[in-house]
């Protein structure tokens, strides 16, 4: 709270406020996506084990079903998001220069967004019958 009894500037007070209060949100999202990963990967692995074959025709016919394509997209979102959050902590703990930290976090985001977009696009291409 701004107070007329304090002569310090807004910036000086902002610096003394501690964390950005985003830590708990990050921590919680890691747990939520972890549960999502567990559930969806369990379904994914069990489904692959139950498929009669893992050849191209069988796999694409399997992915083309809406009730497979939808959870598959959700699995991609959950796992990639979890990886983004988890590896962020890795970078924040081991990269100490602010500049390199920013570069590493940005590179991580670009890398996972590129792979995630390619994965989701591939599922949709198969599901919508482009292949």
């Amino acid at each position: 709270m701004a107070s007329r009894f304090h002569s310090s500037s807004d910036m000086k007070r902002a610096r003394g406020l501690g964390s950005a209060k985003a830590g708990v949100h990050h921590w919680w999202l890691v747990r939520v996506t972890a549960v999502g990963n567990f559930t969806l990967l369990l379904w994914f692995v069990a489904s692959l084990l139950l498929l009669p074959s893992l050849d191209h025709a069988t796999v694409t016919a399997w992915i083309a079903q809406p009730l497979v394509a939808i959870p598959l997209v959700l699995m991609i979102l959950s796992t990639f998001w979890h990886a983004r959050l988890g590896f962020q902590v890795f970078i924040e703990d081991y990269v100490h220069s602010d500049g390199w930290k920013l570069i590493a976090l940005t590179a991580l985001s670009f890398f996972l967004l590129a792979l995630g977009a390619a994965s989701i696009f591939s599922v949709l291409a198969i599901a919508f019958g482009a292949r």
Binding site: R31, L49, D55, V59, I63, L112, L115, A118, S122, R131
Partner: protein
């Protein structure tokens, strides 16, 4: 300490190995039968099997040490005896689940 490093190392392996492999598999399936064949040929080569076994162990180990983190979130079991036991349990469970998984793979493919 070892548990924390292992959780991060397996997590990194799953990010760079697992998610890359998942993307390759899906893109190959969406591209063509030939691209898919190339993926299968690489995945079932000696190096491919080694990578798959390594990634499956990483996934189960990461799952177990992840459950350990959830347990620690509840502030339970911070005495020396319990931390040791839980750490050992994650190792054992990680290896047992990996073995069970590959047994299931062999059964489902009619190899056993």
């Amino acid at each position: 300490m070892t548990m924390s490093i292992l959780h991060r190392a397996t997590g990194a392996a799953l990010l760079f190995g697992g998610l890359s492999l998942l993307t390759w598999w899906l893109v190959a399936a969406a591209t063509s039968a030939d691209a898919y064949k190339l993926f299968v040929a690489c995945a079932t080569s000696p190096v491919g099997w080694l990578v798959l076994v390594g990634l499956s162990w990483s996934a189960f180990q990461h799952l177990c040490s992840g459950v350990r983190h959830l347990i620690m979130d509840t502030v339970w079991g911070f005495d020396k005896r319990t931390t040791k036991r839980v750490a050992t349990a994650t190792w054992v469970m990680g290896l047992v689940l990996t073995a069970l998984f590959w047994a299931a793979v062999l059964v489902s493919r009619g190899a056993i």
